[in-house]
Amino acid sequence: MQLLGRWYDFRDLGNGVARLIEALEDVGAPDGVIYAVTGLLGAVAILVFVAIAAVMNSWIERRLIARIQVRRGPNRTGRFGLLQPVADAIKLIQKEALQPARADGLVFSLAPILIFIPAILAFAVLPWGEQMVLADLNVGVLYLLALGSTTTIIIFMAGYASNNKYALLGSMRAIAMLISYELPMVMALLGVVTFAGTMQMSGIVAFQETHWSWLIFFQPLAFLIFLLGSTAELNRTPADISEAESEIVAGFHIEYSGMKFGLFYAVELINAVAVSGVITALFLGGWWAFGLEQWIPGWLIFIGKLYGVYFILIWFRGTLPRFRIDQLMAFAWKFLLPLAIVNVFAASIEVLLWREYDLSAGLVLPIAAAVNLALAVVLIAGWGRVMGAAYEQEPRRPRLFSEIDVPLPGDGPASGPAAASEPATA
């Protein structure tokens, strides 16, 4: 495999761009042109991927959920129903874009457009391959969090402008949820950043490559917290309370129809991909996979892992019921946040010991991984027991009576244990 470093080395498309920059420099193009050309090239590549992902993911998600739900899913348009997203898009474009009479017109129309911006911007810092980062920001992790928080404002815009009570409820829920989930997620990522010693996405991947391990092994608790927090940020079950179809119908986008709704729907899918990508890069080694990237292009590994995480999100959606809003808040504040803080402390101490005493990574990291795993198990189990609800103790299985038995008032509680036969199975 002596492809490395050639422009046609498909294992790392960044090489081609590097060659292009060299060629441009040889021609004597000014810096601005080189910057613009490479930037545009990367942006177009990402947009193409995002567009394809947004279209295909609706098919993937529907098919997978259908499998989970003992159905078949879309299978009529095209082979395996692959053209279903196209048909959906055509239908949505054709539909009339209704606008409620007393909606806040401009804000109402702007929201579905604006919501695209943070969704797509998030892709800029994802490390697709060794040299394939469009904007390798020093503060990549923080940048992602900042984008996540702006999405909520746009959701609020949509909900408020619709002039609909369900939409308003949904958007207020979204905001309340953001405030709650931002903190544990930041704390969880702080642990990762402490370990990696950088906030640069490519730096974090490089750290995992150098130490021959994924960060999920060092930070299992942070991974779980971030995964659960991202379901809240993505409005997916079990935390889809801002859409909550069975309660507030569709939440903030209840009044949107036609392609405006289509945009929200597409953004939902894109966001899921973006978050999966972030989890992949931060916890699962990004494009690096224990040497496998020597044979398989790094970006394919990345996309593979990304869809692995995405599958977990779909699986959540297919199986879990929804939290109530106060339960979701309590979960964030009383469960995730303390755990995240403890996790940051543990990570800091480990890193401090490592750096201060200049211990060898081969010694520290396995111990840290073991300690953190034990910590995660103990904390989750212990804290779960402390915070566990009272109903845990209550009997769940109905009592079985062979005869009717209704006592008169004052004759004691219905049914002594003698009358009730014990259930046959546990």
Binding site: I404, V406, P407, L408, P409, D411
Partner: protein, 175 residues
Amino acid sequence: MPATAKLSGERLQERIDAAVPGAIEQAANAWVCVRPEQLVATMTFLRDDRELDGRYLNALSGVDRYDYFEIVYHVSSLSHNHEMTLKVRADHDEPEVPSVASVWRGAHLQEREVYDLLGVSFAGHPKLARIFLWDGFPGHPLRKDFMAMPGGRSPGLRAFPNEDEETWGGEFRGD
């Protein structure tokens, strides 16, 4: 296995008369008719009495009897597994009976239903409004004169088509 016993009207009258004298207007074999003035007192007694134990109101139905309206209460005791039928009559022109929603929460919606469909108003009901039909619907559909036709006739058939005495009971559905 015991089926639900039906308390006879005489037995009910005996029991109720002892507690609420003069409440019973008429006692038949299967039911008693209560005077409207003492309806709530009777029903409260019925509910709280340990022997009758009418804590469960099965159904509350209204019937248009042309001359008067009849509200029928099917009350039962889940503990003793018996059933009682009580009736109260209301005047046809200005039908009003006391509400028993204070005695049984379950009467609330059923009284609204009777009010809506028969036009019997229940004095003391916490929220007497139409339930199925919209406000301003003309008339009360379950009244027998709701679809009155010229000549005092009402729709529907009074006898089967081509029916005569010979075929009555003679034409069977075979299997």
